[in-house]
Each structure stands twice: as C-alpha cells, then as structure tokens.
C-alpha cells in the first residue's frame, strides 16, 4: 500500500452510512446500499444458525453410535442445516448483499430500477426465513432439504407444511431480486457503459438473475403441489393412485440444480474482480469469461436429471443428462484457466481478497472435477447418496460460494465501511479456512467411496477414523469463520480510513468515495474505457 494522504474518517463525511441513524431510517430505507447491509445482517444470522446445526452433526458423528443426538434429533439437525444454508444463506448470500450494493455502483446508476420492490424483497425474505426457522426449531422437520415424496407428504411428522410455506415465500423474494437486477442492468447503465464494458461481476449477476426469475417459480409451484398433497390429501404424486414420485424429483431438481449455479455464479463474478484487482492486470479473455457465465446459466437448465441416475428414470435419459453434465463443466473450466492466466505477468499483492480468490479457484476445481465423476453413470451408481456427494457439493458451495462471499467481504469492506481491516489477520483467516475446509471435507470423499451413505445418524465402526478427522477439520473451520467477525468488527472503530480506492482497482465503484454518498456519484460518470483498463504493457516493476 502506498502512503496515503491524511484521509477523512467515514464519520466526518456525508455518506449513506450517516444519512440517518434511527432504526427507522434503516428499516424503511430504499437505498440499495442500506438494503444490502440489512441483507448482510440477515444472512449472517442464518449462516451462524445453520453452522451451529452443522457443528451438532459433526460432533454427533465423532462416534459410530452417535451418542450426542437422538435419531430424530439428528435428522432434524441435518434438515435444518440444509434448508437454512441453501435457501436462507447460500442463495441470497452474494447476490442480495454484494449484488445489491455493487450493481448500481458498478454500472454508474443512482439506485436499483425498483427501489421499493428491493426493500419489499428483503422483508419477504426475512419473514419467510424467520417463519421457517421457527417451524424448524419449534416443530422440527426430518425430511432432509429435498422433501422427497412420499416421505414428506404421507410419512414424515413435524412442521413440513410450515417450512415449505416459508421457503415458498422466500422464493418470491428471489424472483423479485432477480427481476430488479435484470431491469437495472438493462436500463440504468451510465452513458458509455456498453455491454462490452460491463465488469464480469455484472455479467455473472445477470446470468444468476435469469436463473432466479425462471427457475424459482418452478420450485414455488412444486412446493405448493407438495403442500396440497400433504394438507388436503390430493393425489399429485401419490403412487397409490398411479402418481409418480419421480415427477416431484424432476420438478424439484429443475429448480434445485440451477440453484447451484445461483450460488456459484455470483462467486465466480466476485473472483473475476478479485483476481484482476489482485494482479493489477486486465482479465485474460474477457469475452470467454463473460459468455461462460451465460453458457452456465443456459446449459444449467438442462442437467437436472443427473441427480436421478439411480432413481429409476430411463437409462437413455440418464445418458443424455450425463453428457450434458460434462458439457456444462466446460465453461467452468474456461473460467478457472482464464483466472490462472490472468495472474501471468501481473503485479501481484497477496492481500486477503486475492488469497480468498485463490482458495476459491483451487477448491472449486477439485469440487468441479469430482462433480464430473458423479456425472459418469457407472461411478455415480456407486457413490450416489454417499458422503462422496456430500464432499462434492460442499467443495462447490462452501469451498466455492462461501470463499467467494468472504473474498467479497474482504475486498469491498473498505468501500462499504470506509475502513481497512488488519490484512495480516485477513491472510491468517484465509489460510485457516483453506486448511480447515480441506481437513473437513476431503475425508468425506474417501468415506463416500468406501460406502458410507449420507444422512446416517450411526455408522459402521470402520468409518470412524475418517469421521473424526472430518470433525477435527470442522472445529478448525469454525474458528476460522469466527476470526473475520472479530477483526472486521474491530476495524469498524479502529481501522484506518480506506480512501476511495485502496486496492488500485478499476471499477466505477472505486471512483466514488468510501463509503459512497447516498446517491452514489456526485455526477453520473461517463464511461469511455473497457473494464479493468490497467495499462496493457508495463515496464519492469513500476515502483
């Protein structure tokens, strides 16, 4: 970091943060930046609740007999973990916080296209989330987050209906957010901000929003049908009437597989920003990376059947889904190679954001390739519904999406708060998360291949060593997650003022003050350069 002139602290300057200090000024704000902060609080709350459930699960699995939780308690714990993590943390995590905060800033707009809808969407999300959480804790649900019929409709006890209602409500928040993003990106770009000049973060959020708008309604309808069958005893998927439970799975995965891309695409957008800023160099192959986001969103709609290779669906359908699942990996591979190539001949500072981005690239690559193994029919027949699958999707969702989320926090924290945090502690937490994560989830790949099915409350004793290893990793991971909470909060009062552009980054969001004023820009910027316009050639180290 070069020496900065004396900077104003965030408190001394007009910004969105001190535009009003009452609770009301936050809860009724239509400022996209304030709504992003509201989301940040809400998703952090849900994250720690669901992480607590994960801790219970890992503690229980320390011994083969599962002494900590009762069977029912265990089943409820993993259902809570899955439901809350998927719908109330992972899906809204990056889009609703960083997407909300950054999209208008990055494209040079004063706010979202529909600011009031944006706030409404937060209330819908929070209402759905708290209702779901109450139902999960007070009544308990033991169906798993997948709600497969007929277990969920005819056999499971607990508050299945309430939880489903909460998820459906939250789904409308997703739809409205995605709609808002698309309209904003289409209609509110600053003069000169052509599609070819958009940051890659915007491209990935555009692709994500398309999935949010088009896939979420199918989930909503599926859950409505499930509720109708459970509450009114209608025959929708009931095999006794000739109905087919597999149709539920088709509809469910038609949403829930694209939902994986809702989680990972925004993280990819974040990583594109982090890598270019960390390398102080143009991203390698802008158009390949941008189009890869759209390709993932499009092909991602056609691969849902790879969750059903052993379900009894037609073998020919399985073969087609297997092939398409290999196809959808191609754009992801493009991104990984392009990020790596971006570092070539860069001017690299190993600050926390870049470390998180590198953790993302490594873990996502491993997770993605293990996903290809699952896409191979003969391998999936063995490892389907085992810990191999659990390890795979945690590499994508925790190693990928959560690393991306933390990378985003470490990159844009100075912009959001106007303060710098301790870079050393940031590096320590990135390293701790990488280590703890691998220790937690790599043993689960092996467990899966050895034949340990998922959602087991007790397990044969020969699996204990690997389970203990995994639980040990989980405790490292838990500590590494708490660390940023401490030093980031500490930085709010004690961190040095960040200045508008502490990372020497090129996006429009770095041209306005940190924290930004309520209307983002004093005058709307006019864009006349491509994204990431670092000098194309650079002499020897430019000190």
């Amino acid at each position: 970091m070069t020496a900065q002139p004396v900077l104003q602290t965030p408190e001394e300057r007009e910004s969105y943060l001190n535009a009003g200090h009452s609770l009301r000024s936050w809860l009724l704000s239509t400022d996209h930046k304030r709504i992003a902060i509201l989301y940040l609080f809400a998703i952090s709350f849900f994250f720690f609740i669901a992480a607590g459930a994960a801790a219970l699960i890992r503690l229980n699995l320390l011994t083969p007999n599962g002494t900590l939780l009762s069977r029912e308690g265990y089943n409820r714990a993993f259902t809570l973990h899955g439901v809350v993590m998927v719908w109330f943390f992972l899906i809204p995590s990056i889009p609703n916080t960083f997407g909300n905060f950054l999209i208008p800033l990055m494209i040079g707009a004063r706010d979202m296209a529909f600011p009031r809808l944006n706030l409404a969407s937060w209330y819908i999300y929070l209402g759905g989330g708290l209702f779901t959480l109450y139902a999960l804790i007070a009544g308990g649900v033991d169906t798993g987050w997948t709600f497969y019929t007929p277990l969920s409709t005819m056999f499971a006890n607990g508050h299945v209906l309430a939880v489903i209602a909460g998820i459906t409500v939250a789904g409308f928040s997703s739809i409205l957010t995605g709609l808002n993003f698309i309209v904003t990106i289409h209609k509110l770009r600053a003069p000169g901000m052509t599609w070819g000049r958009l940051p890659l973060f915007i491209w990935s959020h555009y692709a994500t929003s398309l999935i949010l708008v088009l896939a979420t309604p199918v989930l909503a309808m599926t859950l409505i049908l499930l509720s109708a069958e459970r509450a009114l005893h209608l025959g929708i998927f009931d095999p006794a009437l000739g109905g087919d439970p597999l149709l539920f799975q088709h509809l469910f995965w038609f949403y829930s597989h694209p939902a994986v891309y809702i989680m990972i695409l925004p993280a990819m957008g974040v990583v594109s920003e982090l890598v270019t800023a960390g390398a102080r160099k143009r991203v390698f192959g802008y158009w390949f990376v941008a189009c890869a986001s759209l390709a993932i969103a499009a092909v991602g709609f056609l691969v849902w059947g790879h969750h059903m290779f052993v379900s009894g669906q037609s073998a020919y359908a399985s073969a087609i889904f297997s092939f398409l699942s290999l196809v959808v990996a191609v754009p992801s591979a493009v991104k990984v190679y392009n990020w790596t190539a971006t570092l070539y001949k860069g001017d690299i500072l190993l600050d926390p954001p870049l470390l998180y981005a590198m953790a993302f690239i490594g873990l996502f690559t491993i997770g993605g390739l293990s996903g290809l193994m699952l896409a191979l029919l003969a391998v999936d027949e063995h490892v389907h519904d085992t810990y191999f699958v659990v390890a795979h999707f945690h590499y994508i969702m925790v190693g990928g999406a959560v690393s991306g989320f933390l990378g985003a926090i470490h990159f844009w924290w100075p912009k959001i708060t106007g303060r710098l945090y301790s870079l050393t502690w940031g590096r320590v937490s990135a390293a701790g998360i990488f280590f703890g994560f691998n220790l937690t989830f790599f043993p689960q790949y092996i467990l899966g291949y050895l034949g340990m099915p998922r959602r087991y409350h007790v397990y044969p004793p020969q699996f204990q060593a690997l389970n203990v290893l995994s639980s040990a990793g989980a405790s490292v991971l838990a500590a590494a997650y708490l660390l940023p909470v401490v030093y980031l909060i500490w930085s709010l009062r004690n961190g040095p003022p960040a200045g508008p552009n502490p990372w020497d980054a090129k996006g429009l969001e770095w041209q306005t003050a940190s924290p930004p004023p309520t209307h983002n820009f004093d005058t709307i910027p006019v864009v006349d350069r491509p994204a990431y316009d670092y000098p194309l050639t650079r002499g020897v180290a430019d000190e």
């Binding site: 379900s311 190679y337 001017d347 003969a378 085992t386 044969p460």
Partner: protein, 317 residues
Amino acid sequence: MNPFFQAWPPEASIHAVRVDQLFMAFTALTVLLTAPVFILMAIFAIRYRHGRDVDRTHAPSHGVRIETAWTLAPFLLALAFFGYSSWLFFDEGRAPPDALTIDVLAKQWMWKFEHPGGQREINDLHVPAGQPVKLVMTSQDVIHSLFLPALRLKQDVLPGRYTTLWFKADRPGIYALRCSQFCGFDHAVMAGRFVVMRPGDYARWLQAAGTDGSLAQQGFQLYRRLGCSGCHAAQSTQRAPSLEGLYGHPIPLEGGRVVVADDQYLRDSILAPNKDVAAGYQPIMPTFARQVSEADLLALVAYLKSLGAGPDQEARR
C-alpha cells in the same frame, strides 16, 4: 502395505473392479487437470509478486487459440470416460435371461427378500456366487435405495412400481447391504449382510431355510422374518420391550393403565402397535397389518406363548 488400500472397499464382482479402474483413472485425470492450476497459481504469485523486478511486458489479454485448446482438450478426454462409463451402466441395465430372480420388499425400516423357492429372509441377502442374480424391488411406503457397496451398485426402490438390479458376484464372502436414500427415522440402521456363497453352500442354505415346523416354530420363523427380533431381542440397539415371559403377565401402559398380555393384546399390538404402548417405550413400532395373515398371527402368538414358559430355546429345539 499402504493403509489407503487396506481401507479400499472389497470388490465382489468384475463390475466392481471395472468401476474402481474407471474411478482411479478419472482421479488421475483430476490430478492432471488440477495440478497445473495449483502449480501455476503458486509460480505466478511468487514470480510476479509486487516489487519484484521481472519482465511484465507484453502481458496477453486474450488468446483465442489457447482458450479453445484448453476448453476442448479436457472435454474430449472427459468424453472418452463418458463413453466407457455409459457402456458399463447400460451393461448393468440388461439382466441375462437365465438370472436367478429374488424379490425385494423394502419398508420402513427393513429389507425383505424372497427367494424363488419361497425362502424368505429379513435384512440379510444370501446369493450364490458366479450366477447372475436379478433383484425385483418395490417399496411398501417411501423411497428406499438398495446399496451394495461391494458390487459398486445401488438402485432406488419406489412405492407403486418395480425397479430391478442385476449382478454376478464372483467372490464368496460377507459384505455390507445398506439403504442409501433417506427414508425417515431409522434410515441409518436399515441395513444387513450381503452374503455371497459357493453354489453348494447356497443350496444347503436354501434347504435349511425352507423347512417348516410346529406352529411355534413357524411363528419363530415369522418372528425372525418379520424382523421382530431386530428390535425385541435383548442385544438389540432398539429400545423395544423384551417379549420373554410376557404372556399372561400384567403390562403397565403409557398413561397409567395396566392390561394383561393375553392373545387379544398380542394380536392388537402386532396390527395396531400404537394403540396400547407399554410404559417407558416410544411408539415407534410399525404396523404389520398388511404383512401378516390370520394364520401368521396365530403362529406368532403361539411362539410368544412358548416364550412365556422359559427362554426361547424351546421353540428352536
């Protein structure tokens, strides 16, 4: 020997060997594709770190050829794996016509197998080695999944329809049999043994399993087949009351009432177990109304009566 390979799951068929080979080959491909990313990231991060005096001129910002190359090469490699794995999968989908057919009925939370000769067993599955075996499976309630790790095979078992799975196990031995599709409360213990026997041993086992005996002995067979012993045996991990010496004795119920365990009570407890639950136990026993005929009920009650006289050796004698 490397402990990793000691921990390798046993291979009981040619198919298992092939799947392992495929898996190892793809793991090698994973390393091949991942290593450059890790190594290059590390090299670049060190070589081009801020402040180092290195040549940064002519940094490329795109390169269509190299991008096309690193897009297509891994994809074509993966396609080869796709071909082989799909062939293995389709091969596993067509049972030979001479396969021995065994019926499988899954229910919360037990497996029931019925051999062609009428021999039935619960949770354990005995099959002859070297002979194709076809399982025809259905579920009585929710979706289960029969998972035979030693064969690298699994297949979901659905209510209201039949799914099939065939295999030829070559290596006699005792292997694991598990449920891999979450099916509720006791999903984790819906498991048993998968016993591959030499054909001669299998024939002898069939004979031994097929004999009929006295009413109590038939009841004992039913008691075992229906899985009652899975929960009611003294060494069981399930909390279910012991049935020894039960007949004719007063039973305190949840809620304070006391009944005498007569024929009627035993019968009701099998058909509607949650009607009168013994004090201190959870109402977790499933109903057997749809699995037992009146004759079965008589045999079961006869067996339970015989337990009242003493330890259950009597029935087995």
